[in-house]
């Protein structure tokens, strides 16, 4: 019964979305206030209905209602509760429901907190947002209904894939979707502004928080996914340039560009049409991502539902929204007049360069991702584009971006003298080069690429610090220190996010250059040395888990006679899914991870792989710090979504008294 109610709520939400797509849009063009005002309640209703629908599906999973086909295919009574819940979105249909839930949540939030938006803009934004919702409701209801019942329910379910039974799955997709779908807000604002024919500083100020939020969720989502792959995959890879990873990385790059260009719109009222274009592209890449994950046109190790019919549906959604938006852009972009002018050396120019590098690097990822498809269709060549290509083609852009970032972030607006900034920053350059040389000297014989990126990481982190420090003006140290604590949160957010990027680059450079690996056949009780560590396999025993059986090894690691860690790598077998997994055991450290994987028994011993992964955690630590920077900036009261609303309400109140 509850399942049917959920299904029904979803259909109602679809109907409301169509209403909200049409009525406020007509109202805005005719100037009918009550038609425009209908958008707000409709957005709330849409969200509540979708939430009810999602709740119904969750209920079916939690109570293990195996008369629902989706639950049967993805759940099992013995599964721990966390994975029963996360199983809701561990499949195509459920994840799509989560997608629209977040989409309607963003729409509702724009309605709730958008009190300071001009009436027509708000109505149009909500109408555009709702049209995206309508497309996805139709997609779910017509091709991917999660509420289908089985005629004869089985006694128990087929279990969720064991590899997905991990806390990582519980959190990685929701964050990623918050990011993907958050970009729909920027898209709706862009399209609404094109319809209005008006983009000004206020528009930039409204778009920025949404983009910032989407970007920061994407950062967390991608970081979580990478970390999950690192510990779950069994050899500690953290990024594979797989089509599906690229699908999340491209919107991240574009939204980072959008974030920066929206600053220029807000502060200087220029780069307007470019910013609109980026807002359209960012969501476009989100949709392309959805297409890649769900259509199966590109061979990816991630697979969802490889169903061509669904692929065509998403392609149609992509075509309609991108085609429509670009058409509108072509017609209206000319109307966006720039106000602020700036010289070749200025913060604006630096941000243009930032946008150029980010956009072109996203393009490189895109071309690399679709090239196998393209080459097969047009040149009849079956080929692969893998990590060696992406590292070679993408790396230079990261390098260029990192080189210009600290310089550009310190340039003044409008017109700058490069000499002033270089005077402040040259000690940093010396520091960075010294760090690179030091890294090269310590690990002689390795390639120079690692040290170069380590130097750049130092450059970025120290540059962020100097940027913040120069903002405190001149005068006594104590005075500057107290001014430092009073700087706007947006300034702190900027410095923290840039430093986080530096830390991530550092982690990647250190891990990929200086990792040590040891693979060998080890007998019980045997001790051997890897780097500074001594490794002993002291025992292997069988363990019974809640829904798996496991062969668990005990590996003792010492350094200079002192105990460092006792690790328990496992080989598990999930009988219901008939699937084996390897569970690596990791000793996480500030400067290194010890990563141990147990292999099959053979010839009286066990195959054991031990890795020393230097600075590995800094990759994800840096991502978290980047996201934290975004959150800091978001919490700046100048950008808080509702801040302006409260102020304008207060202002209106005065004459009445």
């Amino acid at each position: 019964m509850i399942v049917e109610l959920g299904h029904f709520a979803l259909i109602l939400a679809f109907a409301v979305s169509i209403f909200q797509m049409v009525v406020p849009m007509v109202g805005a063009s005719k100037g009918w206030g009550d038609w425009m005002a209908a958008a707000g309640p409709a957005a709330s209703a849409q969200f509540l209905l979708t939430a009810a629908s999602f709740g119904a599906l969750t209920f079916a999973f939690v109570t293990s209602d195996f008369s629902v086909a989706l639950v049967t295919a993805n759940s099992h009574t013995l599964k721990p509760m966390l994975y029963k819940i996360s199983g809701v979105w561990g499949n195509h249909e459920g994840s799509l429901l989560l997608w629209v839930l977040i989409l309607t949540l963003f729409g509702a939030m724009a309605a709730w907190f958008g009190g300071n938006l001009p009436e027509t803009l708000k109505a149009r934004v909500l109408a555009v947002q709702s049209s995206i919702g309508a497309a996805f409701f139709a997609f779910i209801l017509f091709t991917s209904n999660p509420f289908l019942r089985l005629e004869s329910p089985p006694f128990d379910g087929g279990d969720l894939n064991p590899l997905l039974q991990d806390p990582g799955l519980a959190f990685h997709p929701p964050f990623l979707y918050l990011g993907y779908v958050g970009l729909s807000m920027a898209f709706s604002f862009a399209v609404a502004a094109l319809i209005e024919g008006r983009v000004d500083a206020a528009w930039g100020r409204w778009v920025r928080p949404w983009t910032l939020a989407a970007w920061l969720f994407l950062t967390i989502g991608i970081g979580l996914g990478s970390w999950w792959a690192y510990y779950e995959l069994g050899w500690g890879g953290f990024w594979f340039w797989d089509p599906v990873e690229n699908a999340s990385f491209m919107p991240w790059l574009i939204s980072a560009a959008l974030l920066h260009s929206a600053i220029v719109v807000e502060k200087r009222e220029t780069l307007k049409s470019w910013t609109i274009l980026l807002a359209i592209l960012a969501f476009g890449f989100s949709l392309i991502g959805a297409f890649i994950v769900r259509s199966g046109v590109l061979t990816s190790v991630h697979a969802f539902a490889n169903d061509p019919e669904r692929g065509i549906f998403i392609l149609a959604i992509l075509g309609v929204f991108m085609g429509g938006a670009f058409l509108l852009f072509a017609l209206r972009a000319g109307a966006m007049q720039s106000k602020g002018v700036f010289g070749l050396v200025s913060r604006e120019s630096a941000l243009v360069l930032n946008n150029l590098l980010l956009a072109v690097s996203a393009l490189v990822v895109f071309v690399g991702t679709v090239w196998p498809l393209f080459a097969e269709m047009f040149f009849d060549r079956t080929l692969s584009v893998g990590p060696p290509f992406f590292n070679a083609a993408f790396g230079p852009f990261v390098l260029a971006l990192a080189v210009v970032l600290p310089l550009g972030s310190m340039l003044p607006w409008k017109r700058a003298k490069i000499g002033r900034v270089t005077r402040q920053i040259w000690p940093l350059a010396v520091l960075a080069v010294a760090a690179a040389l030091l890294a090269y000297a310590i690990f002689s014989g390795e390639s120079a690429i690692g040290p170069i990126f380590i130097g750049l990481a130092v450059w970025l982190v120290a540059g962020a610090g100097v940027d913040l420090w120069t903002r405190t003006g001149r005068g006594a140290f104590s005075g500057r220190l107290s001014r430092l604590t009073r700087l706007p949160r947006a300034d702190w957010g900027k410095a923290v996010a840039h430093a986080g990027l530096g830390l991530t680059i550092f982690g990647i450079a250190a891990l990929s250059t200086y990792e040590q690996e040891d693979i060998r056949l080890v007998r019980l009780g045997e001790t051997y040395d890897i780097g500074a560590y001594s490794v002993t396999l002291t025992g292997v025993r069988d363990v019974q888990g809640p829904n798996y059986v496991s062969m668990m090894g005990t590996v003792e690691i010492t350094r200079d006679g002192r105990d460092v860690a006792v690790l328990n790598p496992e080989r598990r077998f999930y009988p219901v899914a008939r699937m084996p997994t390897t569970e690596a055991a990791i000793d996480n450290g500030f400067t290194r991870d010890l990563y141990v994987v147990l292999g099959e028994p053979s010839q009286g011993g066990f195959a054991l792989r031990v890795y020393i992964k230097p600075w590995a955690n800094w990759i994800w630590g840096g991502s978290i710090i980047m996201a934290l920077g975004g959150a800091l900036s978001l919490s700046d009261r100048r950008y808080r979504v509702a801040a302006g609303a409260a102020k304008s309400r207060g202002a209106k109140g005065v004459p009445a008294e």
Partner: protein, 149 residues
């Protein structure tokens, strides 16, 4: 995320990437073998190199790479030996032949083009500013008009 799913689904019998018995005694040769393996695709897997893959075929290819190296082949000879047998599909780093030039040049070409456009745009808009007070002629007129009221 779902990569994990398929990796395991595709395993008929799960064996390991690079097992102890495959490792060559000569560390220099082994290092070269690992480098070469990282650039070759496992044909039955999805987007994995033979160095990472658990599949039987990947193991065979890894052994083949090591066999050729022990026989005294150069790195490029080993790679072309395998490409001759399995096609360019095995190369994770696409070669520079024919249409692939488009793939490799897309990034640098767009970057240069974009840079040129950006410079032209910045030059163009900054030269609009002629008057010392930072207003264009049109804006001055508008100011004058507003001041009248």
């Amino acid at each position: 995320m779902k990569r994990l799913l398929l990796i395991v689904l595709l395993l008929a019998s799960p064996v390991w990437a690079v097992e102890p018995d495959e490792v060559l005694d000569d560390p220099v040769l082994e290092e070269r073998a690992r480098d070469i393996s990282a650039g070759l695709r496992c044909l039955v897997c999805r987007n994995e190199s033979i160095d990472e893959s658990h599949a039987e075929l990947a193991r065979d290819l890894r052994l083949l790479v090591r066999e050729r190296l022990v026989a005294g082949d150069e790195d490029t000879e080993v790679v072309s030996y395998i490409v001759e047998r399995y096609g360019e599909y095995v190369l994770l780093r696409p070669n520079l032949e024919g249409a692939n030039l488009l793939l490799w040049l897309a990034g640098p070409a767009m970057a240069l083009f974009g840079l040129l456009m950006a410079i032209l745009f910045i030059r163009g808009q900054s030269s609009q500013r002629r008057t010392p007070d930072g207003l264009s002629e049109a804006e001055k007129e508008r100011v004058a008009e507003l001041m009248k009221d």
